[in-house]
């Protein structure tokens, strides 16, 4: 059934700052949605020339193939340090780092904590899919207890591998953090909220308010060995209780501590 468009107006179109290159992500992977949202906000705020992104090592390592802005690709875990270096040299540009849970919450823990503690005036986008996607589904610090991954073949056990690490809760307590929220992108409403959050964060950065930190609780259909729809359902059922959706810190104030 082919669409008939005569006399209709466009109510949604692919952001122009997203390149034409088809994304390499697996079907249904949340990375694509978040990439799209970032570029939508860049379009709407008309800040392509002012925005510099930092891609991590992880499935989103190729983010710079899709975002038509100046970008740097950082060493594994160091995206926020790289972003710090950029921002300190170009304080009036909008700088964001885009990081997975292995990148930000495992090898990059020190950089994450100290970047936020310094209140670096950047946006950190944290994609929490509870697994290492790129390297084939190993345990992440955010992997749930009991969850099977290639390095927790019998399910994650706290005695051997520790507990799901709530980095977002940790950074919330740091005075350098100005805006901290946890969102998702699995439903139209969720997508709208996440986009809103990105917009708020970049506007705060324009006003030099301090570090903004957005966790997106996301999926990894391939790593989880599920279809995209199964994955999103599993995420709602199992991840949201551990990583509840919502704002943690607004205008520098911690919510219901």
């Amino acid at each position: 059934m082919k669409p008939m468009m005569e006399g209709l107006e466009t109510v949604y179109h692919r952001p122009v700052t997203l390149t034409e290159t088809p994304m390499h992500y697996c079907p249904g992977c949340g990375h694509g949605v978040v990439h799209k949202l970032l570029m939508e906000v860049v379009d709407e705020m008309d800040v392509q020339e002012d925005t510099i992104g930092v891609a991590p090592v992880g499935c989103s390592v190729f983010a710079y193939h899709y975002m038509n802005i100046d970008m740097q690709q950082a060493a594994h875990g160091r995206a926020s340090a790289v972003a710090t270096g950029i921002k300190r040299m170009l304080p009036h540009k909008l700088v964001f780092s885009y990081q997975g849970d292995g990148d930000l919450a495992a090898i990059g823990t020190a950089e994450t904590i100290h970047t936020v503690n310094r209140g670096e005036n950047i946006l950190i986008v944290f994609i929490n899919n509870a697994i290492y996607g790129m390297t084939g589904g190993q345990m992440a610090p955010t992997t749930l207890l009991g969850m099977v991954t290639s390095t927790t073949p019998y399910g994650r056990e706290s005695s051997a591998s520790g507990y799901p690490l709530k980095m977002t809760d940790l950074v919330t307590t740091l005075p350098g953090a100005y805006y901290v929220t946890r969102q998702s992108v699995h439903t139209p409403t969720a997508v709208r909220k996440t986009k809103k959050a990105i917009r708020i964060a970049l506007e705060h950065q324009q006003k030099h308010k301090g570090t903004c930190f957005i966790e997106v609780v996301s999926n990894c259909p391939s790593g989880w060995k599920m279809t995209p729809l199964e994955a999103n359902a599993w995420m709602e059922k199992n991840m949201f209780p551990v990583y509840p959706i919502g704002d943690l810190k607004l205008d520098g104030k911690i919510l219901h501590p």
Partner: protein, 368 residues
């Protein structure tokens, strides 16, 4: 300032280097304290902000080198400094910077290792600096100052080369050079022009394609192309090799040493010549590129070569590769932070001069 530059000053090597960096137009410094070079961070954090520059004490050397990556990628003239253990932590970052072709200055005020070791002067990081302590096929540009004056001058040279070749440059000093004071005439500010950096990530105007700073080229063919580009660069770099040769005209023995060791050797040579032994000194000022051709040429004019280092024998390999078996190459080293004395070197020179090779070799063996 330019006027001020003419007046000689008495400065510590670390401070002279830091002040020179400011005069070289340094825009950002990111580093972590470690003896014997913390004065660089301390001097810069006190002075650079006055000039509008940024100085940040990072949470670690790993963070520091990656901040440098970002700042250099953003087109700024930046540097970091540390000492041996801290430099080891920067190896991944240095490999990334070499691959992404980002210019910067990294200072290693070498101390005695391996491990935590001592904080005394050493040249034990020669291999790490020149062969690439990080992974993959890359080289740093490595300069080896031998005086407080060169601690200052080489900062300008390092930035010039780093930006000309889009490659990280390292100044490999040692604890003594960092801590000692000498008369220094600082290079005047504003004499090192800024270079165009069209590749820098400064925000994409619609007048150009987006800039991407990366070291990832997932297709092996692409990655090899990048490597071929690097190798081409390194071949071009060979012309920048610098060295100092002294008393080589009539020399029978050629002493090869870099940095502080060359100074001590100079003294030993004076003593030797007083005893009638004809000795010359060859001092590489650039360790990478290594002045192989010049050295080979000088070696041909002598009967034997003696290499002196504050390590177990590292540069001696590059010397042997240059001499390529044409002359016997002997080695004398001290390790772990012990500084050799002019007298020790004199002794070696005389042994080598006697030229009873077998025996000498034997003795030198022990000294390894």
């Amino acid at each position: 300032m330019n006027t001020q530059a003419e007046v000689p000053r008495l400065m510590k090597g670390n401070e002279a280097l830091a002040e020179a960096a400011i005069r070289a137009g340094l825009q950002g410094y990111f580093g972590y304290p470690i003896t014997p070079q913390s004065e660089i961070l301390e001097y810069l954090i006190t002075e650079l902000p006055k000039q509008g520059g940024v100085v940040l004490q990072a949470e670690s050397e790993v963070a520091a080198i990656n901040m440098i990556y970002g700042a250099a990628g953003a087109g700024a003239r930046v540097m970091t400094s540390s000492s041996s253990p801290g430099i080891s932590l920067m190896q991944e970052g240095l490999s990334y910077m070499a691959s992404a072709q980002l210019p910067c200055l990294v200072v290693n005020v070498n101390r005695g290792g391996p491990g935590l070791g001592t904080i005394q002067p050493s040249q034990g990081d020669y291999f790490q600096a020149t062969k690439g302590g990080g992974h993959g096929d890359y080289h740093l540009i490595v300069l080896a100052p031998a005086s407080v004056q060169e601690m200052a001058d080489f900062v300008f040279e390092a930035f010039r080369l780093a930006e000309k070749y889009r490659n990280p440059a390292m100044i490999l000093a040692d604890g003594a050079l960092g801590q000692m004071m000498e008369k220094v005439i600082l290079p005047p500010a504003g004499t090192l022009p800024r270079t165009e950096k069209p590749w820098a990530t400064t925000g994409k105007p619609n007048t150009r394609e987006r800039n991407v700073v990366t070291s990832l080229f997932i297709q092996p063919e692409k990655m090899e192309a990048v490597n071929l580009q690097l190798q081409k660069k390194y071949r071009e770099l060979q012309h920048e090799a610098r060295y100092e040769a002294d008393g080589v005209k009539d020399a029978d023995v050629l002493v090869v040493g870099f940095g502080l060791t060359a100074r001590i050797a100079q003294k030993a040579i004076e003593l030797a010549r007083a005893n009638g032994v004809r000795v010359g000194l060859f001092r590489p000022m650039t360790l990478y590129p290594f002045p192989s051709e010049a050295l080979a040429a000088h070696a041909r004019k002598v009967s034997s070569v003696l290499v002196v280092e504050l390590n177990s024998g590292q540069m001696v390999e590059d010397v042997r590769l240059a001499v390529n078996g044409k002359r016997p190459v002997y080695f004398k080293g001290r390790m772990g932070g012990v500084i050799m004395t002019p007298e020790e070197i004199l002794e070696e020179i005389e042994l080598v001069a006697e030229n009873s090779h077998l025996q000498t070799a034997g003795i030198l063996e022990e000294m390894l």
